[in-house]
């Protein structure tokens, strides 16, 4: 085994490969700046992210990050513990790479006529690099830098349709709220640093557990409880922005509606998952529940219980009233952020690893079904059929394959058994019950039932309603079709594959909470 021992930094290869592919795109663009060879550019992007995906899966299978007692190779530290590669990191690197690959393939058709092809694809890859690094970041410094690396290209991507008023408006709103929330986030970091004297997560935890800062002018943590509590609250604000949950959710409907649809898919799946991974890591590693609660006087899990319930209720109720399909999906994506927040709400209770693992599974399944749903919207925009439910009427007759895939995505999002979305919600439900969060579990069930209404409304429009206008035969763009079909196949294939995914997620969560 020691024959081929890779250096520690290669553990970050999934993220580094994405960065390298972005650089390759820059080189291609500098050689042929005027070419609009979207096949080459989209192909490079997709190939890079698939290689990144392959490496991440290989690491997971080879036991990188699995604790050595379980026969793995142990958690790998990079750059003096600024990054750690454990199962949690690899799991989310897989999600990011999958979504990036799907988005790249779909963009081949969607962005066909766009002038700035190479810029588009390299921005996608740079944002993906940031998200992948977020999965491994282990100190508030690297978390913030990775978060900005993911955010800055996203602002540009949302407003990349430069002559489209909707796209520019969406980019502006996304940028303004993003800049505000990153200012709040970094101020929160500075307060946590002031209270504990450290930026690295496990050092923060050590200081909070010891109850005092041992430097020159040392102080008790309990004396700076207010400072620490305010800092934690501001950190939650930053996470809420990235995951599109209350109270920083209002950018999401605007940004998703105005952005090019593949970018909406990218932001609502990969970016949300990356926001959750840093939230999971910070709150499980840096702020041990009991000690932090005694220092600041409040249990931070309570904040997540409230946020989870409010986020899922708001998202689902707002989604139910929409007429615009993309906007409905945007609000439903807020609702799903609420479901995943249950993972953080339940950590403090016994059996926290089950809820957190369930939240990770949900984000994984969501990476396929939600990306697929937004890519269907991309397909509809490519056809130019319009944006409301009525405009989608009768599409099933003209494009049965894509509409069948849409039905799979919708039913999986709603959580109809036996699709993947059902199982992750089922685990969230049982986990929440086990953690004693009856109200949260009830909210989950009520919201899922409500969500069935607006998801099935779309399926009904596509398959049952009569078309408002007679349509010509619809074209079949290769890239978009391939991406949608792959997403649908994966949503179905998760049925037999759900066991290993669930095991990995729960293992990762157990390792984090141990």
């Amino acid at each position: 085994m020691a024959l081929l021992e890779l250096p520690a930094w290669t553990a970050l290869a999934p993220a580094l490969l994405l960065a390298l592919t972005a650089m390759a795109l820059f080189i291609i663009d500098s050689i042929a700046p005027d070419s609009r060879n979207s096949g080459l550019l989209a192909g490079t992007t997709a190939a890079g992210s698939i290689v990144s995906l392959g490496v991440a899966v290989w690491y997971l299978l080879a036991g990188v990050g699995t604790p050595t007692v379980d026969g793995g190779r142990g958690v790998i530290d990079v750059l003096g513990n600024q990054f750690v590669v454990d199962q949690l990191a690899l799991f989310f690197m897989v999600i990011v790479a999958v979504v990036t690959a799907l988005v790249a393939v779909a963009s081949y058709d969607y962005m066909e006529d766009h002038t700035y092809q190479a810029e588009y694809y390299s921005l996608v890859l740079l944002a993906a690099t940031g998200m992948s690094f977020m999965a491994a970041a282990n100190s508030l410094v690297t978390i913030f830098i990775a978060l900005e690396l993911a955010s800055l290209p996203s602002y540009a991507l949302v407003s990349i349709l430069k002559d489209n008023r909707g796209s520019v408006e969406a980019g502006l709103k996304y940028f303004l709220i993003g800049a505000l929330s990153s200012a709040i986030f970094v101020y929160g970091i500075s307060l946590v640093y002031g209270a504990t004297g450290h930026l690295q997560l496990e050092n923060i935890a050590a200081v909070i557990e010891a109850g005092e800062v041992a430097s020159d002018g040392g102080h008790e943590i309990a004396d700076v409880g207010g400072l620490l509590g305010l800092g934690i609250l501001m950190l939650i604000g930053g996470f809420a922005f990235k995951t599109a949950s209350v109270p920083f959710h209002f950018w999401a409907p605007e940004a998703y509606e105005g952005a090019p649809a593949p970018i909406s898919a990218f932001l609502s799946s990969a970016s949300k998952a990356a926001g959750f991974v840093i939230a999971f890591r910070v709150f499980t590693e840096a702020f041990p529940v009991a000690e932090t609660a005694s220092a600041i006087g409040v249990d931070w899990a309570l904040a997540f219980i409230i946020l989870a319930i409010v986020t899922m209720t708001l998202g689902n109720f707002a989604a139910a009233t929409q007429n615009n399909v993309k906007r409905m999906l945007a609000y439903s994506s807020i609702g799903h952020a609420g479901y995943a927040l249950i993972g953080l709400a339940g950590i403090s209770a016994g059996g926290g690893e089950l809820v957190m693992g369930a939240a990770m599974m949900h984000l994984f399944v969501y990476g396929f079904m939600n990306t697929g749903a937004f890519l269907f919207v991309a397909l509809a925009e490519y056809w130019g059929v319009g944006r409301t439910f009525e405009d989608y009427n009768g599409l099933g007759r003209r494009a049965p394959v894509a509409c069948f895939a849409l039905a799979i995505f919708m039913f999986s999002l709603a959580g109809i058994p036996p699709l993947g979305g059902f199982w992750s919600k089922y685990f969230l439900f049982t986990g929440a019950l086990e953690a004693g969060l009856l109200v949260v579990a009830a909210a989950l069930v009520i919201n899922s039932a409500l969500s069935l209404y607006y998801y099935s409304r779309l399926v009904k429009a596509v398959w049952i309603e009569e078309p408002a206008v007679e349509r010509e035969t619809l074209s079949q763009p290769v890239g978009l079709y391939a991406a949608i079909v792959v997403a649908a196949v994966m949503t179905l294939a998760l049925l037999p594959l759900f066991g290993p995914v669930a095991d990995t997620a729960v293992d990762a969560a157990t390792a984090m909470l141990a």
Binding site: F144, L152, Y155, V168, L172, L180, S190, G197, E257
Partner: protein, 101 residues
């Protein structure tokens, strides 16, 4: 005579509050950007003062990173504001209302 760390925190909180006030009241996108800059620099003051207080350098180094990121953020932001002006002939953030919820 050295100044106590609490004075720096008060200064930074005042700066943060001024920035937040600016964001909530100004409609000009450029003023918005400046207000965000104030908030980021409030965090920098905190980081440097706390680094001095704790006697380690990580806060100061992080402040350098924050400044670089703030510059990058302004670069992207100005690009978007330029697009805003080209499309809407205005930099008022309340003008673009093609989407409503």
């Amino acid at each position: 005579m050295t100044v106590g760390v609490e004075h720096y925190v008060l200064l930074s909180m005042a700066l943060f509050a001024i920035g937040l006030f600016g964001i909530l009241t100004r409609r000009n996108a450029l003023m918005f950007l400046m207000s965000v800059e104030l908030m980021l620099n409030a965090a920098n003051i905190n980081l440097i003062a706390f680094a001095f207080y704790h006697g380690n350098l990580s806060g100061q180094v992080f402040a350098l990173f924050t400044m670089a990121l703030a510059a990058a953020e302004v670069a992207v932001g100005l690009g978007i504001i330029l697009l805003l002006y080209r499309n809407f002939r205005d930099v008022d953030v309340t003008v673009p209302t093609t989407m409503r919820w």
